[in-house]
Symmetry: C2
Subunit: 107 residues, 2 copies
C-alpha cells in the first residue's frame, strides 16, 4: 500500500436515499465497479464504514469511494469522462447526499 506524496486524492462518501435497501446498495456498487474503468484512475477502493465508534467518527455513510490520481489534471479528466457522466446519469437517483474531499500533498 503506497500513497504517492504528489498524487491527487479524491475521496467521496455516499449516503443512500434508502440506506436499508440492499438492492440500492448493490446498484451503487455495480455503478462504481463500472466507473473504476476510467483510464486516468491510478488506484480505487470501494468501502463501507468500519466497526469503529468514537464521537469524531462519521460512520453514517453507505459507501466510500477513494480514488488516487497522478495529478489534478487526471482528476479533471475523470470528471468529464463519458464513463463518469454515465455513472452520474444512472446512479445519482440512489443517493441523498454526497461529500467529496479533494486533497493534494503539502509542499
Amino acid at each position: 500500500m503506497i500513497i504517492e506524496k504528489n498524487g491527487f486524492i479524491h475521496h467521496v462518501f455516499f449516503w443512500l436515499k434508502n440506506p436499508h435497501s440492499k438492492e440500492d446498495l448493490a446498484s451503487l456498487i455495480e455503478g462504481l465497479t463500472k466507473l473504476k474503468e476510467v483510464s486516468t484512475i491510478e488506484s480505487f477502493h470501494i468501502g463501507k464504514p468500519a466497526a469503529t465508534n468514537r464521537n469524531v467518527i462519521d460512520s453514517g455513510y453507505s459507501l466510500s469511494w477513494l480514488l488516487l490520481f497522478k495529478n489534478k489534471e487526471a482528476q479533471d479528466s475523470y470528471q468529464v469522462d463519458p464513463i463518469h457522466l454515465n455513472f452520474v446519469d444512472t446512479c445519482s437517483h440512489l443517493w441523498s447526499k454526497v461529500i467529496v474531499y479533494d486533497t493534494i500533498g503539502i509542499e
Copy 2:
C-alpha cells in the same frame, strides 16, 4: 499507487482553531510527521485541499491525514500507541474540529 481491497482506511480531516495561522499549520504538520512513525501504519499522506470547487466538495479543512492499515487490529493498535497519545496531548489544542472516516472494503 495501490490501495489493498482488504486494508483499513483511516481518513482524518482537521479544522484549525486559527485557520490562517501558518505557525499552527506548521505545528500540526510537525506533529503528524512524528505520528507517521507508528509502526502499524502501512502508508500515510499529509494533504491540503486541492484547487477544486463544486458544491459537493468540502474544502474548508486545514489538513487531511490519510492512513492505510493492514486491518482493523492494526488501526486499533495505532489508537493506543504512545506516539499517537503524545500527538493528541501536544497537538489537540490546535484544532477546533476533526472528522474521521474509517472504511473497510466491501465483501
